[in-house]
């Protein structure tokens, strides 16, 4: 799960940042040292820190580019094998079309009333993709289902007091020959 990697990176970064602050608070007791002396050294380090931070962020941005969820990227390797029309309304999902494991599925998502969020959870409860369901627009979410099973559609955009109860089960059946990949 990529989100656990994100959590690990966050925790490592948070601990590193907290350590810097704790260190600074402890070193503060060793003063007072004349400020110009501290500042001139610190601002030389800052230049390095500026370029390091800029470099890290640029590298992450570039390396993450191919993993964006947008349709043109996901359809670059071939068209969708299945198509499902999804219509959201307070507090129901309506899906037209069937889904089988393996091939790309094009979910065409819209809303009858307010903004909703079409979130797809795998059988183990992990979010595998989402897109907003908006009145007046049709958003295309391209997903692939590695295995058959019962997936859960949850609303991921606050849509009124019934928001938490807006979910349904979507069965993904086993790939039949010729329908996928």
């Amino acid at each position: 799960m990529i989100t656990y990697l994100a959590l690990g990176v966050f925790l490592a970064g948070a601990v590193a940042l907290a350590s810097v602050f704790i260190l600074a608070s402890q070193v503060a007791r060793r003063g007072p040292t004349p400020y110009p002396e501290v500042a001139s050294r610190a601002y030389r380090v800052r230049l390095f820190w500026f370029f390091a931070l800029g470099g890290i962020l640029s590298a992450v941005l570039l390396s993450a580019l191919p993993y964006a969820p947008y349709a043109n990227l996901r359809l670059a390797s071939g068209p969708a094998a299945m198509h499902v029309d999804v219509t959201a309304s307070q507090y129901l999902w309506s899906l037209q079309g069937s889904v089988q494991s393996g091939g790309k599925v094009d979910f065409a998502v819209t809303s009858m009333d307010v903004n909703h969020g079409f979130g797809v959870y795998d059988p183990s409860g992990h979010l595998i993709g989402q897109v907003q369901a908006m009145p007046g627009y049709t958003n295309h979410l391209i997903l692939q289902f590695p295995a058959e099973g019962d997936y859960v559609i949850r609303c991921l955009e606050y849509c009124g007091p019934g928001h938490s109860s807006m979910y349904m089960t979507m069965h993904v059946s086993k790939c039949q020959s010729g329908c996928c990949c």
């Binding site: 003063g31 820190w49 931070l53």
Partner: protein
């Protein structure tokens, strides 16, 4: 809310749960921003002559707006969240008969708060221009051309200060956000009366998030202005103007206006190029704070011999909250990750880290700093330090539980925890209770100190500019 959520949604009805959520979001954004603006006003009142009358009007508008928002929620059952995504207020889906009246009351209240902050922004820029003569000087652009820019020249009253630069950037961005915010709020109010009048949901969402994201973000920037004034009082070191500081704030001015697009990553109807602009801007927005203000705060403290009074402690820890929460925000603003984190508990986790453990700490630190000059009495240092520990420990336990739940795909704004995240929901409750206890200790001390104050050194229209 945490208790209601952890208990599986059995404590309140869904209407009440989302009414509480709506008032929490709206109230904290409005109070955080206005409290920060008021503190910055007081802290820079030696430098620029802000109008007491305008600020009284700002206070009255904010107060009236908040009362209307309270009435909208508590009397008329408004529950469409502080984000009021169009057309939700028109179709609240709550079954409450007065919900439309609630929406009108909420939007009117919001409009008053927005107009109030807009007035503050106009007055700040006016007062700054009166001192410095031009916007370029007020923003400190002269540091790139004039020698000796790093030294404060107290004989030249046309020079600017770090707090003034922060306030000016906040005021410029605030003007833009308030104008766009006022436009969409007025449109939605009109649309309530004339439902045939419609607007594209995507355009409305862009306008709402431009205003909402920017105003929420300005809390941290106004707080930075506060830090520039408060921290040096304890480190006994000046926070000087520098080319890096001016460049950082100019970059912030340009970048923050574009970062809000990250709220719309999952709106695939938005042009894709705009999504990437959002990603780049969100990353870039992290650089000025991490290399100028937060870094500068660490340098201020380093080997300074500072005595960790409550004011210094809260201000310093606020910078840590800003840095850690900002890191969580950068992760969420990565498009490839946002598809799995958007609208999960990761989102409230990161913004509570830099709001509750950042902005609120800056405000509390400034309150400890200003109480002696405002009331002639000090807040209790003992209470302050104990509360700081409780709020820090409780606060980080709370947000950590959310980060973990978010990484496990638990949605935000749900009445119940998803299977597997129940334990973290209860841990969040425990953390919130500890943090709340610390906050109540400070609030009690604050009220008692105000009530026992021999005098209240509040500004009068004629005397306001030069009061310490």
């Amino acid at each position: 809310m945490r208790l209601a959520q952890a208990s599986g949604g059995n404590l309140f009805s869904s209407d009440v749960f989302y009414e509480v959520m709506s008032i929490h979001g709206s109230g904290m954004v409005a109070i955080g921003l206005m409290a920060g603006a008021a503190l910055l006003w007081h802290l820079v009142s030696d430098e620029i002559e802000l109008s007491v009358n305008v600020n009284r009007a700002v206070f009255l508008l904010t107060l009236t707006g908040m009362l209307l928002i309270l009435a909208a929620v508590m009397v008329f059952g408004y529950s469409s969240a502080w984000t009021f995504l169009y057309p939700l207020p028109e179709h609240p889906g709550s079954g409450i008969a007065t919900a439309n009246v609630g929406a009108a009351s909420y939007l009117t209240g919001l409009a008053l708060v927005v107009v109030g902050f807009l007035l503050w922004c106009v007055d700040f820029i006016r007062a700054g221009l009166k001192r410095c003569g031009s916007l370029q000087r007020l923003l400190g652009l002269y540091v790139f051309s004039e020698p000796g820019h790093g030294h404060d020249d107290h004989t030249d009253h046309t020079t600017t200060q770090p707090s003034l630069i922060a306030g000016t950037v906040v005021a410029i961005l605030g003007l833009e956000a308030c104008l766009i915010g006022a436009l969409i709020v007025i449109f939605m109010l009109t649309s309530l009366v004339f439902p045939s009048l419609t607007i594209s949901a995507l355009v409305a969402k862009n306008m709402i998030y431009f205003a909402g994201h920017t105003l929420a973000n300005l809390q941290i920037y106004v707080a930075a202005g506060i830090a520039y004034a408060v921290l040096p009082a304890y480190t006994k070191r000046p926070w000087r103007l520098s080319r890096a500081l001016v460049a950082g704030w100019l970059a912030t001015l340009a970048i923050v206006m574009l970062a809000f697009f990250h709220h719309l990553y999952q709106d695939f109807a938005q042009p894709e190029a705009v999504q990437w602009v959002g990603n780049v801007a969100s990353y870039a927005a992290a650089i000025p704070p991490m290399t100028v203000t937060i870094y500068g705060g660490l340098v201020q403290v380093w080997r300074s011999g500072i005595r960790w009074s409550a004011a210094a402690l809260f201000t310093f820890m606020a910078m840590a909250g800003w840095a850690i929460g900002g890191f969580g925000a950068v992760i969420d603003s990565t498009i490839a990750l946002n598809q799995f984190l958007h609208n999960t508990l990761w989102v409230p986790a990161h913004f509570h880290t830099y709001m509750a453990l950042g902005v609120m700490f800056f405000i509390i630190g400034a309150a400890y700093h200003l109480m002696p000059s405002l009331t002639g009495r000090h807040l209790s240092e003992k209470v302050g330090r104990r509360a700081a520990v409780m709020m820090t420990v409780g606060g980080y336990v709370l947000v950590l539980a959310w980060y973990i739940s978010g990484s496990m795909s638990a949605p935000r704004r749900y009445m119940y925890p998803l299977q597997g995240t129940e334990i973290f929901a209860w841990i969040a409750v425990a953390g919130a209770l500890v943090a709340l206890t610390g906050a109540i200790m400070i609030f009690k001390d604050l009220v008692e100190t105000f009530l026992a104050a021999p005098h209240l050194n509040l500004p009068e229209p004629e005397l306001a500019p030069k009061q310490a």
